[in-house]
């Protein structure tokens, strides 16, 4: 099974393939389909891992389009040091 990055419009017009998931604003989605998928697509992937690797590429930050929990990228980075004022009260 191959994976294809297609637009929401393309999916609504063709209704082909099995939906894997949508991007954050639901303008694009990943579908799985056979290798002879004949409708327009932006990108194709031979395997699930290849598709996920494209999303979770930390050089391109593509993943920020695909997971709504993206505002978690705090300015102190992965190793800090973390200041006390990271603790905040939300009014």
């Amino acid at each position: 099974m191959n994976y294809y990055l297609i637009t929401s419009q393309s999916y609504s017009e063709n209704q082909s393939g099995i939906i894997s998931f949508w991007d954050n604003d639901e303008s694009n989605l990943m579908i799985s389909a056979s290798s002879d998928y004949s409708y327009p697509y932006s990108q194709s992937f031979d395997t699930y891992d290849e598709m996920q690797s494209w999303i979770w590429n930390y050089d391109t930050n593509e993943w920020k389009n695909w997971d709504e929990d993206t505002e978690e990228d705090d300015p102190y980075g992965i190793d800090g040091p973390f200041p006390e004022e990271m603790d905040e009260t939300i009014i």
């Binding site: 993943w63 603790d87 939300i90």
Partner: protein, 317 residues
């Protein structure tokens, strides 16, 4: 805990404790019948006996998660909540991973408590959202910073939590027990009402802690494992192994979490009951024993359904 496999056995203090907890009118025949043994009765039949249901299978999948389709009462977790499961990531490199959640909607973060792994920061985040889906309370636990790293074993933040670095796991089943607790709205909006445990030990170091003056409540309409309660499938849907998921109607104490963990990767109902916790406080448990009905139960009546098809029950070696 299973009955010892050799030496002398006592009807009441060794066998009855494991079989049915009876403390009076104890007979070998009654205990044998309760354990499913046919006549002729013999004490030796109980060597190694365990009343715990078997834990032979779990779920291994990607882009698949479990959530109830029918709403349950929103007040379910008014007294707090405990969420727990045995998990191990299976994606070859690090990526965001959603673990489990409970909330008021299957479409938004309204009144939700969610627990998820943030790969770019190598943290597990525990968050509570208010009644319009705004995050109010949060703790983020770096897995690779001291003192957490000694507990998690996820020491390399570049590698992250993934197949290559699953961290400290159960030596028998290869999965890690992760538990999140929240004291609930009555505790107030302090982040200290949230706690996270890895294999029964509390992670004490957290960053990006949010306290709120707005009191948030985790509704019980929906519970989910391997995903948020209020989200559909995404690239962050859990990719890996999941087993023995449980949800309780209050925040267990750290000592209780440790005790439940010490029972091992077994049916959660059995683990809770044998830990001396009132079984009525167990809202839901799921054993993933070849289907969703063999070991599903709990006080609230949740019935989880599979979303997605990219996964299967796996058998432990």
């Amino acid at each position: 805990m299973a009955i010892k496999s050799s030496g002398s056995l006592r009807l009441r203090y060794d066998i009855a404790v494991e079989v049915n907890g009876a403390s009076s009118n104890i007979s070998l025949r009654a205990l044998s019948a309760a354990a499913g043994f046919s006549k002729q009765d013999a004490m030796s039949e109980f060597y190694g006996y365990s009343s715990a249901p078997p834990n032979t299978f779990g779920w291994l999948g990607r882009n698949t998660y479990f959530r109830n389709a029918l709403q349950q009462p929103q007040s379910t977790f008014s007294a707090g909540i405990t969420l727990m499961a045995w998990v191990k990531p299976n994606y070859p490199t690090k990526k965001n991973q959603r673990l489990f959640a409970a909330g008021g909607s299957n479409r938004t973060a309204r009144n939700e408590i969610r627990v998820h792994y943030i790969s770019s920061l190598n943290r597990i985040s525990v968050e509570v959202y208010d009644n319009v889906g705004v995050r109010r309370i949060r703790r983020q636990y770096p897995l690779h910073n001291a003192p957490n790293v000694a507990i998690t074993g996820v020491s390399n933040s570049s590698t992250g939590w993934c197949r290559a670095q699953p961290g400290n796991v159960d030596p028998t089943t290869g999965l890690a027990h992760i538990t999140a607790t929240w004291e609930g709205a009555s505790f107030g909006g302090s982040y200290t009402g949230l706690k996270l445990f890895w294999r029964g030990v509390e992670l004490t170091y957290s960053v990006n802690n949010n306290t709120s003056s707005t009191i948030a409540t985790a509704y019980g309409n929906y519970i989910a494992v391997r995903n948020n309660a209020g989200s559909g499938a995404s690239s962050a849907t859990f990719d890996g192994y999941t087993d023995n998921f449980g949800v309780l109607l209050r925040a267990l104490t750290p000592a209780e979490v440790t005790t439940v963990f010490s029972k091992g990767n077994i049916n959660v109902e059995n683990a809770v009951q044998s830990s001396g916790i009132d079984i009525a406080e167990l809202a839901y448990y799921q054993g993933f024993e070849q289907n969703l009905t063999n070991e599903e139960g709990g006080a609230t009546g949740y019935t989880l359904v599979l979303n997605g098809s990219n996964g299967a029950y796996f058998a432990y070696a």
